[in-house]
Amino acid sequence: MSTMRIPNVLALKAENIIKKFGNFTAVNNVSLSVKKGEAIALLGPNGAGKTTFVEMVEGIQKPTAGHIEILGLTWEKQAKEIQHRIGLVLQENRFLDRVTVFETLKLFTSFYNVPSAKAEYALKKVNLVSKRDDYTMNLSGGQRQRLAIALALLNDPELLLLDEPTTGLDPHARREVWNIIKELKKSGTAIVLTTHYMEEAEKLCDKIYIMFQGKILLSGTMKELLASQEYQSIVDLHFKGQLKKSFQHPAVIRQKKFPGGIRFYAKELKEILPPLMEWIKKNQIKIEDLNCRNLNLDDLFTELTGHKLNEQNRKEA
């Protein structure tokens, strides 16, 4: 198998990808690119089309329309070479029951045609040496996820596809997985990560693609995404009773009422807070709660879709 690496080729180039299941369009005209060494996140709730998109990149599903290039190669022409050069962590990682962690890794070294010693290397890399001879069925969720990552590392992939690698993990296990991903990113591996945790996308990725109902709504670096909105700060005021007079000030870009309160959007907190406090005092408003924050991805997502990022996931949970 030829593994000649061509410099300056995009790790991933997806153009106008469409995936339909009957009349349902799961992925609708998605285009994106990932440079070598770059990490991107596909952020969106369950059912946004993230996994379907990633599975098309992984070669598990075929797009209805569009073109995918991985490291300058296509699934139609160079499937085996792509498989040899990418690493993947599927959304659901299951392993053969009565097989040990090491045996599982050794099996995959034969698939990737790498020395068995790579199994030991991967074990160390994901900190699973102590579980080397345990059956995979006896691993915890976090350990299973780390094993899945270890499998993805056996071939030193140039592009790593991680489909919700921390979903269902406790905070400690999640942080462990994050550390591994951070290290991989440092070593120059291009990463495509799907997640519905904004913190994960923010901490691990250079660029974020916000996906909803099969479409990419917005993309860019964290800074670019936040800067795309004219406001940067949000103040939620919860109060008792009725407002006699509304708060009008040049710092307020817009305001929105919600049951029991009102939300103010402003450029900066320091511009809105002093006049707002004065207005509250003057109008003798009985405050129940006052929540001030800088704009975050969750707010942005809500603004774009009318839904909270984790709303659907919570419902499903």
Binding site: G59, F95, L96, L107, F111, Y112
Partner: protein
């Protein structure tokens, strides 16, 4: 070389998974042995069948000495007589109705009259046997005892065990390979493997090899048990047996791949495997000869993979079958494997 390494790793893992499950070990090794033992002992061990018959005799016979002598003669052939006086003959019918006696005989006008349901083979045969004995008794001539056939392979176990070996091969491949493939898809275990550069034909080949190794042990256990307990021998070609064993495994591996090619539902998988194995187990003459089927059906049954395999195995065990004698069934089995396997692989759902 890479593919050999892959196959070696896959076979190793599959064998390990097999022996790490004690429950599977029971079904694979102990159950066929127990079945061979139970059926072999039940149908092969010599046992005398005892019959009871009722005699209705007129009270006018005061000293039925001759009849008493005949009764003794029958007793030596395991036929027990219940004497009933003519005045109480209702008693005889009562015994017959309750199936306490196989037939009823009435002594009338110096000769025997036989009463029984003429549809019953057992009663019919007993009638002929008693009549023959009565003639010899009257004429005083001696019966010529039958001699047993001076050839091997005529016991039920000689018929059964090669059939069980064939059935073992079928079940091992259908449940061990086909079901495992369905389970792998069902549990989404196949997904990760198939997304790697793993060779797909190599993956299938590894299943064929690992199952064949397990089936070889199963067959060997059955064979050794048959030899030790029932003195069963392979009278034909060992090479022929090896060839038919490989061909049988190959045929059912192909069928197994086709059966497992699409479904990811355990109930459908179960149903599909049963739909293949059950009719063949019944029709292919594993437990009883398929010669009892109508002639038209026999032609169809004879070309079923399990029939080809069990007939060829019996030929080798009991009739001294040569290598050339099993070339035809072996070729047919290999063709089954190629055709079903190719179709199965073509439509195989890897994700």
């Amino acid at each position: 070389m890479q593919i050999l390494r892959e196959i070696y790793q896959l076979v190793t893992i599959q064998i390990k998974q097999f022996y790490r499950q004690p429950g599977v070990l029971f079904w694979a090794f102990i159950f066929p042995l127990a079945m061979a033992w139970i059926l072999g002992v039940a149908f092969t061990t010599e046992s005398k069948t005892h019959y009871k018959i009722a005699w209705i005799v007129p009270e006018s016979i005061r000293k039925p000495t001759r009849l008493k002598q005949f009764e003794k003669k029958l007793a030596s052939s395991s036929v027990q007589v219940v004497w009933i006086p003519e005045s109480q003959k209702e008693k005889a019918w009562k015994l017959y109705r309750k199936q306490k006696v196989v037939l009823v005989m009435q002594w009338q006008n110096q000769k025997w009259h036989f009463y029984y349901d003429t549809r019953l083979q057992e009663a019919k045969l007993l009638h002929l046997e008693i009549e023959r004995k009565w003639t010899h008794f009257l004429t005083g001539t001696k019966e010529s005892p039958p001699s047993s056939v001076p050839i091997q392979g005529t016991r039920y176990i000689d018929f059964l065990l090669p059939g069980l070996i064939a059935m073992g091969i079928m079940n091992s491949l259908m449940w061990g390979m086909s079901w495992t493939l369905i389970e792998l898809r069902m549990k989404k275990l196949l997904r990760r493997m198939s997304a790697s550069p793993m060779s797909k034909p190599g993956f299938m080949l590894s299943f064929y090899i690992s199952r064949m190794m397990i089936t070889a042990v199963e067959t060997l256990i059955l064979f050794v048990f048959g030899k030790w307990y029932f003195n069963l021998t392979l009278t034909g070609s060992w090479l022929g047996f090896f060839l038919i064993f490989l061909a049988g495994n190959f045929a059912f591996a192909g069928i197994g791949v086709l059966v497992a090619s699409r479904t990811d539902n355990s109930r459908i998988g179960n149903g599909l495997i049963n739909a293949v194995t059950f009719p063949m187990t019944v029709a292919s003459g594993i437990f009883f000869s398929y010669e009892r089927f109508p002639e038209m059906a026999q032609k169809f049954v004879a070309i079923l993979p399990l029939t080809l395999l069990s007939d060829a195995t019996r030929l080798l065990f009991n009739e001294g079958g040569t290598l050339s004698a099993i070339l035809m069934p072996a070729t047919a089995l290999i063709l089954y494997g190629i055709i079903f396997g190719a179709v199965g692989l073509k439509i195989y759902k890897w994700h």
